[in-house]
């Protein structure tokens, strides 16, 4: 079935005129109709608009436009509800934006469209990207396709679940502390967080401006490389985007990785790491050694402070970024006798519990009398964390870690204990603080139940080429990424 293909698989068939973009898009829509009632990866999707885009792609293909010119021509790509798509709803998984319809396209959406992609859907997420389980959405939770009593991860849970369940060929998510990589690991797909500044944030609703990055969730590493090549690049509309040329990531994937050095940080293989996850990582490390890679033990001494630093900096930045949701220019409004009362009531009614928690924490750490002790100190420790990585990259080409300490946990298991939820981000969080790039790839499964396990690779700033090459080499020798959740065949038979 066409929805089961990768980007490379589908572009091949489209180029040979074996299938049409309309057939491919319809195949995804049929899959959504079959499985999304159970999984709820999508908050909404506009089927008619998607088919109009598909027809336009078909017209271009028959007119002679090829995939060297437009690498995503005819490919369905679904987007996280945090990205602006012109004339589509933009809610960030929250009530506070009400019936907001975006008047513009995010830069990444413009780039996807220019590359010929069919941009569709509003993928479910933790509200304002705050969460690790997609349980914080105002539109209901998303279920893990591998076990629907479990979470898909977050905050890009909808993106990961949709890719894992073949509801879309590829998806975009956003990552501030692991929100692409962790759900990718928990759902068994590939998730890439580019170096900070690699991809424009124009049109990404900001959570933490010094940490956020947009990135792809895909079925294999080649697709992630293709997507990054399309969405990456300097953008004058994002003053934090870096004027670094975009290499041809997909073309530079193959070729051996013999002689490269992979660092194994001793602080990451700790207690609290699920024994099955540890076993999978150990096996993967042996696989890398077979590929001729040298494994080097390294130290990232400030690992233990990552979560603390993150929950000061990210919440502080979030408290500033979310001040704009005040019921004045857009979104839902609860009236008041004066503006202050209007703000208080609008925000009190519109924000969910996790958002309130973080806004309050962020406001506190920035407040007079506490700024130095919390925010300034956290920024200094951020320097120490960044230096840990830069020093490590003098010795090794990339760093290998588990993506998450455990496989997917049960719905409701951590939702009463925010701190426990935060601690589950321990392996992904430092990457955003340091601004480096990271990717999660499937590396195995737990036994009973069968749940995906993710391997994380961390690379130098703008080191995505090497990162993708290493990931691709590992993937080429394994079959984890080709496995599909059992629910798909169950639901297909009952359809």
């Amino acid at each position: 079935m066409l929805n089961q293909l990768t980007i490379s698989g589908l572009t091949g068939k489209l180029a040979k005129r074996e299938v049409s973009a309309r057939e491919a898009m319809q195949s995804c829509l049929d899959q959504i109709a079959r499985v999304d009632g159970k999984i709820h990866a999508f908050i909404s999707h506009n089927a008619a608009d998607a088919l109009v885009q598909a027809d336009a792609a078909d017209k271009e293909i028959s007119g002679g436009t090829n995939h060297s010119q437009k690498p995503l021509l005819g490919i369905p790509v679904a987007v996280k509800d945090v990205l602006a798509v012109k004339n589509q709803p933009l809610n960030c998984g929250s009530k506070i934006l009400g019936k907001f319809i975006s008047p513009y396209d995010a830069t990444v959406v413009e780039k996807l469209k220019a590359a010929g992609a069919i941009v569709f859907g509003r993928l479910n997420m933790d509200e304002f990207a705050m969460g690790s389980s997609t349980e914080n959405s105002a539109f209901g939770l998303t279920r893990n396709p591998w076990d629907t009593t479990r979470i898909p991860g977050g905050s890009s849970g909808g993106s990961a679940a949709a890719v894992a369940a073949d509801e879309t060929i590829a998806a975009l998510g956003s990552d501030t502390g692991g929100s692409i990589r962790q759900p990718a690991a928990l759902c068994g797909c590939v998730g890439l967080k580019p170096t900070y500044g690699r991809v424009s944030r124009y049109g990404l609703v900001a959570f933490a401006s010094s940490l956020d990055q947009i990135g792809p969730l895909t079925k294999d590493v080649r697709d992630a490389a293709t997507m990054l090549g399309v969405i990456g690049g300097h953008d004058p509309r994002d003053s934090t985007s870096v004027p670094q040329p975009v290499p041809d990531y997909a073309a530079n994937l193959t070729g051996g990785i013999k002689g490269l050095k992979l660092g194994l940080p001793k602080e990451y293989m700790i207690g609290g790491l699920d024994p099955e996850v540890k076993a999978a990582i150990d096996t993967a490390v042996k696989q890398f050694e077979k590929l001729g890679v040298e494994i080097v033990e390294i130290s990232l001494p400030h690992t233990d402070y990552g979560v603390s630093v993150y929950y000061i900096i990210a919440t502080a930045e979030a408290s500033a970024n979310l001040a704009r949701f005040d019921g004045i220019r857009y979104g839902a409004r609860v009236d008041g006798a004066d503006p202050i009362e209007l703000y208080n009531r609008t925000r009190g009614a519109g924000f969910g519990a996790e958002v309130k928690r973080r806004v309050i924490l962020g406001t506190y750490v920035l407040s007079s009398g506490y700024y130095d002790a919390y925010y300034l100190r956290a920024q200094k420790v951020r320097t120490l964390i960044r230096n840990d990585f830069l020093q490590a990259f003098e010795k090794v080409d990339a760093i290998v870690t588990p993506t998450s300490p455990t496989a997917a946990f049960k719905i409701g298991e951590k939702s009463d204990d925010p701190l426990q939820m935060y601690l589950s981000d321990i392996f992904t969080i430092s990457c955003n603080l340091a601004g480096i790039c990271g990717i999660s790839i499937p590396c195995g499964f737990t036994q009973n139940p069968k749940l995906p396990i993710g391997l994380q690779l961390l690379g130098r700033p703008f080191g995505e080429e090497t990162l993708l090459k290493i990931a691709h080499a590992y993937e080429s020798g394994t079959l984890w990424h080709e496995e599909k959740p059992a629910i798909l065949s169950e639901l297909n038979h009952s359809a």
Binding site: Y196, S239, R329, P339, T363, V381, L384, L419
Partner: protein, 95 residues
């Protein structure tokens, strides 16, 4: 860095966030726990360490001071909860 001074009502006021008494209690307790965890940062020696505000520091990112098209007026107003005469409607600010 004492967490005893965590005045949730004052912080909620700064954040323009109305909390129910139940929320105040629950959030207050949860945030107390989180702040206790964060105390571990106090143990680190950060003398002489420069703060990092941005992982990829860029300086003086400007554009030419030239007029360009911006979001059309109507588009900007389209999502307004209340509007009139091409303006956003707000409650009275000054007496």
């Amino acid at each position: 860095m004492s967490t005893a001074q965590f005045d949730i009502q004052y912080i909620a006021h700064l954040a323009r966030l109305q909390l129910t008494p139940d929320e105040e209690k629950k959030l207050g307790a949860q945030l107390g726990g989180i702040l206790s965890y964060i105390e571990k940062l106090k143990a680190l020696d950060v003398t002489g360490v420069e703060p990092t505000a941005h992982a990829m520091p860029m300086t003086n990112v400007t554009r030419p001071d030239a007029v360009r098209p911006s979001l059309p007026h109507n588009d900007a107003l389209r999502n307004a909860p209340a509007k009139a005469n091409g303006l956003f409607m707000v409650p009275k600010i000054v007496e």
